[in-house]
């Protein structure tokens, strides 16, 4: 797992984030989130609310968003729960960023299936752009993390960038995706293999071929 650390509590951070509060839309959303939990169990909302707060921070500074300490304190106060319990949650789950992050958080899967399908090439393609684990690239665009299996092995190799997965990648296809993102476009998420929709077998079905046209009954053939 990547090294994670909480961004230290500094006067600058207090000055920047000390008066964090929900935007009007997020205030509405947070009330909606709270209402999903039974009376007296509102603390369970800590996970969705931390996510909401992270997105609000992201929207404010045009990044993927992260959780400065004053923001965690705000969520703790909002839910009337001890701050240490909020920090425990935020530091446990890797989808909460607890240190500043770039505009795009590129998470390359390096687990066996992706590695066999060429994730090493993807990693070097990322490094060429100045990405480095635990750092934001100089242009502020990229943060890079090598992660473990994201469950897209059928369309390996893959990367996750912010909320979207990009699958069936090669170094060139990844470059295209990253270029599009850098240019402010929204590349198509999901598989990048031409002609493939999701994770169906490439080149047509290899098993249960009779099921393609009709609801074939195989039972007699077992």
């Amino acid at each position: 797992m990547a090294d994670r650390y909480i961004e230290p509590d500094t006067p600058e951070m207090r000055a920047r984030w000390g008066n964090f509060a929900w935007t009007p839309e997020n205030a509405e959303k947070s009330k909606d989130v709270l209402s999903r939990y039974p009376e007296g169990r509102q603390r369970s909302a800590v996970m969705p609310l931390l996510d909401l707060a992270q997105r609000q921070v992201g929207a404010e500074e045009n990044t993927q968003g992260w959780l400065p300490i004053p923001v965690m304190e705000y969520v703790a106060a909002y839910l009337d729960m001890p701050i240490i319990r909020v920090v425990e949650v935020a530091t446990f789950y890797t989808m909460y960023n607890i240190a500043p992050i770039g505009r795009f958080h590129v998470q390359v899967c390096g687990t066996t299936p992706c590695m066999l399908r060429g994730s090493d090439d993807l990693i070097s393609a990322c490094k060429k752009r100045g990405m480095k684990a635990g750092h934001i690239s100089e242009d502020g665009l990229w943060s890079f993390t090598e992660v473990e299996c994201m469950g897209n092995c059928a369309s390996a190799p893959m990367v996750q960038i912010n909320d979207d997965n990009y699958e069936d990648l090669t170094a060139e296809r990844l470059d295209k995706v990253l270029d599009a993102l850098a240019a402010g476009e929204t590349p198509k998420a999901g598989t990048q293999e031409p002609g493939r929709h999701t994770v169906e077998p490439v080149g047509g079905p290899t098993t249960l071929k009779d099921m393609v046209t009709e609801n074939h009954d195989y039972r007699g053939e077992w």
Binding site: M1, R4, P82, I84, V87, E88
Partner: protein
């Protein structure tokens, strides 16, 4: 009552017991790190693995597995042995081999259990994990590389102390135990995590590198820092008390003690009175015992003598002084130093009648003028348990940060005259209602008004099971109070009666909170152990022994008589208090009727039989009717939890706690 077989022996276990408890009942030792009787079950250390049939064919964590009818449990099979060795090996992978420089060495669960259940050698030659040390304040020293993530400290601060300060952040191999932003743990019970920690991750900062456990002489004692009478073990080496640890007593302190009880002991070596002093020309000069006694005797006070008992006195000292005054024809005895004059004609009316154990079962509690958290941290723990069981708590007095919620009804005692309707309804609907009247709620008619509420609510009642429930409680602040009241250290008008009598000689027995300016014309003889407020005002100082330096009988606020043993000798020329009073009787030429400690104890037991046997004294359940009205804004007596008595005020650790934790001063850390 399920029947289970443990290693082939069939035993019956209580409903709801775990497999671990079943094994213990069968006399089998189950190694464990995370499991603790008084905390919730975590099941994360995996050390308590046993083999259980029926069940999956693999070892199971016994601490989290309920014992069921017909289970066959094996703690001695090859599978269990291998499982324990395996867990031990995993735990030791990231544990440093620094036992020789670790303060836990010799009393370390990990050390002991690795010897008993480990493999004997390591197969691990990779790098070990290292974790930065965390700041947890002036009392807790951390070496987090040693942590095995049992989370006992996290569960203690959340469940028992009720202050969520400690947490486990990050995850997996990177998990770290810390306080939020490494702030100091600052509640009154924080240092108990040191005892809970099964390894050397959390150790005692003031006691760091002082001694090894096997060098220490262990003496059974009673704590005097508050009126709870916590059972303690006094660890001493040579003439010095090095540390105090809690002893298990489920009726009193369970197995916790407050930070003050634990860490005030370094004050026992500082500011001590170790020679007699006599005021000559306005200055205190060291003199011999002979000279000091003849100065007092030459005054020839006759029956113009009075005695004030301090907050930490044992019953023997108070009894010896009472006998001395009696022999001289005086009965001017008082223990309530600050001038309180509540009625003590019925001891049941000034006692914690419900008891600490039963207050947990109360379902509605009214607290009058008591900041329980600082006045008796261990009672606060009990109240928290009561609230967890569903008790409603109402408080009268200025608001303070409770650890159990509760509703504040007002700051003025006059709330007692007319309780708000909803509070009254809750209390009168309760099956086991209770009241706790604190030091600040006793005066100005508070006790009488509370007693009147007690009789209206029928706090003394018969429960469904036939036992008697007495829900009226007074929570005292000083360890000597109940013993003093039993020995008659109470005048009708309080200390004002002593002032009015204008005695020639005033014996201040460790009394430091008295306003001595009112005794300007008396010769103040201070018999005590610390050069504190009392000694400053004294004309004669006779150096005496502190609570660790004498055998003594103490009565806690529930009327529980407990004995404490002598751990070390008093320093210098200081003597045990009763011997000073005995010698003074000789100087006055009177007889007090005892020549040694056994005779003194026998005479005390003959006069007050309850003091002769350990256990709860019986004051009966008849409460006076009370009545009248109370008024006045409540002001809690404890302004600084860490500096309430002369020992604590002399203690560098307590001063540091007060400065850093209560007054927010910069952390004073030695350059390392």
């Amino acid at each position: 009552m399920p029947k289970v077989k443990v290693d082939g022996v069939e035993i019956e276990v209580p409903q709801g017991a775990t497999v671990l408890q079943a094994c213990e009942l069968a006399g089998k030792e189950i190694p464990r790190f995370c499991y603790h009787e008084r905390l919730s079950i975590a099941g994360n250390c995996r050390m308590c693995l046993v083999e259980v049939k029926p069940g999956p064919p693999k070892p199971q964590a016994s601490c989290a597995l309920p014992a069921n009818e017909g289970q066959e449990i094996r703690t001695d099979s090859e599978m269990v042995k291998k499982a324990r060795e395996g867990v031990m090996e995993f735990l030791l992978i990231n544990h440093p081999l620094d036992c020789p420089i670790c303060d836990q060495g010799g009393e370390c669960d990990l050390q002991d259990q690795s010897v008993a259940y480990g493999r004997g050698g390591s197969r691990y030659d990779e790098s070990k994990r290292a974790v930065t040390t965390k700041n947890m304040g002036p009392l807790i020293k951390t070496t987090m590389t040693r942590c095995i993530h049992c989370t006992r400290c996290v569960r203690f601060s959340e469940e028992i102390a009720g202050v969520d300060e400690i947490g486990a952040i990050y995850r997996g191999e990177n998990m770290q135990i810390t306080t939020y932003l490494e702030k100091a743990a600052s509640h009154e019970m924080s240092a108990n995590v040191i005892d809970l920690c099964p390894v050397g991750a959390l150790t005692s900062r003031p006691y760091a590198f002082e001694a090894r456990p096997w060098e220490l002489k262990k003496t059974i004692g009673i704590d005097v820092s508050d009126a709870v009478g916590s059972n303690i073990r006094i660890d001493s080496r040579g003439r010095e008390v090095l540390r105090v640890l809690p002893r298990v007593n489920d009726d009193v302190n369970e197995e916790w003690i407050s930070d003050k009880a634990r860490y005030q002991v370094d004050g026992l070596t500082k500011r001590r009175l170790d020679k007699p002093f006599l005021r000559k020309d306005g200055k205190l000069v060291a003199v011999s015992w002979q000279e000091a006694f003849s100065a007092i005797a030459s005054l020839n006070p006759g029956n113009s003598i009075a005695a004030v008992a301090g907050d930490m006195l044992d019953c023997e000292t108070m009894f010896a002084a009472k006998k001395l005054l009696g022999a001289l024809g005086s009965s001017l005895l008082e223990g309530r130093q600050t001038g309180m004059d509540y009625d003590c004609s019925s001891l049941a009316a000034v006692n914690f009648n419900t008891g600490f154990n039963d207050i947990e079962t109360a379902d509605a509690i009214l607290i009058v003028g008591s900041q329980v958290r600082t006045e008796a941290p261990l009672v606060n723990v009990r109240l928290r348990k009561a609230v967890k069981r569903g008790a409603k708590v109402f408080l009268i007095g200025p608001e303070w940060e409770t650890t159990f919620g509760g509703e504040f009804l007002g700051e003025d005692l006059s709330v007692l005259n007319q309780l708000p309707q909803h509070a009254w309804d809750a209390l009168s609907a309760a099956k086991r209602p209770a009241m706790i009247v604190g030091g600040a709620g006793l005066g100005r008619g508070g006790l009488e008004a509370s007693l009147s509420i007690a009789s209206q609510l029928k706090l003394v009642r018969e429960l469904e099971d036939g036992s008697t429930w007495n829900g009226f409680n007074v929570l005292h602040l000083s360890a000597a109070r109940m013993g003093g009241l039993m020995l008659g250290y109470a005048q009708k008008g309080g200390i004002a009666d002593l002032v009015a009598a204008a005695p020639k000689v005033l014996l201040a027995l460790g009394a430091d909170e008295v306003d001595f300016t009112k005794f300007a014309n008396s010769m103040v003889v201070y018999i005590g152990h610390h050069g504190d407020k009392g000694a400053h005002a004294a004309d004669v100082i006779l150096p005496a022994a502190a609570y660790t330096e004498k055998n003594g009988t103490y009565v806690n606020t529930e009327g529980r008589v407990q004995l404490s043993d002598k751990a070390v000798f008093a320093p210098g020329d200081a003597r045990e208090d009763w011997t000073i009073l005995r010698a003074m009787a000789d100087a006055f030429g009177v007889s007090v009727g005892f020549d040694n400690f056994e005779e003194l104890r026998a005479a005390m037991a003959a006069e007050v039989p309850a003091l002769g046997s350990e256990g709860l004294a019986d004051y009966g359940h008849d409460l006076p009717a009370g009545g009248g009205s109370a008024s006045g804004v409540i002001a809690y007596p404890i302004k600084d939890f860490y500096l309430t008595n002369p020992i604590a005020r002399a203690s560098a650790v307590m001063q540091q706690c007060s400065a850093e934790l209560l007054h927010g001063e910069e952390i004073a850390e030695a350059a390392e």
